[in-house]
């Protein structure tokens, strides 16, 4: 399989202690592999994958909240989906984060497309991307005070949706 070459390169560069290859899922597409990397070194791994392994396309950045998930040890799983447009190889890079330290280094210097994706993850989960050029909320209003895709946030919110001024006929 094409992807073992990438894993071998990672082994040669970073050793085998810090990172591990994830299980191959039945739903994985051919040429797709998964790795789990430590939080503090995420940017280093991403840089290596881009410059030395040819992952030139950032497909997606997203996050999973594992609160109440069975057997989960960590709270958040931050996910970077990469693709190599020459070999069609795909790599899912994941790193686990726990409160209170929800900071990772931004991938915007590597892939410009990470800008809005990381803003969305920040908006919905409150993950802070250090070095991001413009880390503001992207979907919710700036005044919003929470991160609604966290599992401890109630589905119906905390009253934000009704906290507006009412217009009457007189004012309108």
């Amino acid at each position: 399989m094409a992807d073992t070459a990438t894993l071998d390169k990672l082994k040669a560069r970073f050793g085998e202690a810090d990172w591990k290859a994830g299980d191959r899922l039945p739903s994985a597409s051919p040429g797709e592999s998964r790795i789990v990397v430590p939080q503090s070194q995420l940017a280093k791994y991403l840089k290596f994958l881009k410059t030395d392994c040819g992952f030139d396309l950032l497909v997606d950045v997203t996050c999973v909240d594992y609160l109440h998930f069975r057997n989960a040890k960590d709270r958040f799983g931050l996910v970077y989906c990469l693709a190599n447009t020459t070999t069609s190889e795909r790599l899912i890079v994941r790193c686990y984060l726990n409160e209170p330290d929800l900071t990772v280094e931004s991938a915007v210097p590597l892939w410009e497309g990470a800008n809005w994706l990381e803003r969305e993850v920040y908006d919905m989960f409150g993950i802070v991307f250090g070095g991001h050029p413009d880390l503001r909320r992207i979907l919710l209003p700036d005044e919003f005070a929470d991160h609604p895709l966290r599992k401890d946030y109630p589905l119906r919110g905390r009253g934000e949706r009704h906290n507006f001024h009412r217009l009457t006929r007189e004012e309108g």
């Binding site: 005044e143 934000e160 004012e171």
Partner: protein
Amino acid sequence: MGVEVPDNVVVTKLDQMASWCRKNSLWPMPFATACCGIELMATGASKHDIARFGAEVFRFSPRQCDLMIVAGRVVMKMLPVLQRIWQQMPEPKWCISMGACASTGGVFDTYCVVQGIDRFIPVDMYVPGCPPRPEQLIQAVIDLQAKIQAEGTLMGREFKTAARQQEKRALLEILPGHELPRPMPRV
């Protein structure tokens, strides 16, 4: 001594005359935010033809409109926009809340979807359905015309009554343990 009125002269009240003019030339502001907007377009198209009721001039400038048709979900980021547009429309003006979402939030009972626009702007007609058929929207326009004819006045005195100012629904969900709203600035 009676005044002789020729056959081609009709005597009426000025209020009724104004209402009659207004009701037959409603200019809708299509505030179409979701799937109901498609049905709103169908209502304007040739098959259902809202022009038969004098309401075909959809304008995208609120300054030129006097009937706001809210067709679709309104989320909390959109609500200040909705209120601003409503305020930009000149008096006299009316509002139709089209579809389950605009009227009640519909199936989208989530943190960001406003559970009925009537909590924040005045609404004259509600159209049920998901989405409502064009016939239903046309019926709402006809009913609104009847309402305008029945209570409209030249200077808009009907909008100043206490009944028009009162709240239509409770503002907050009364749930046990429901937290107080987070601070958000007034629009």
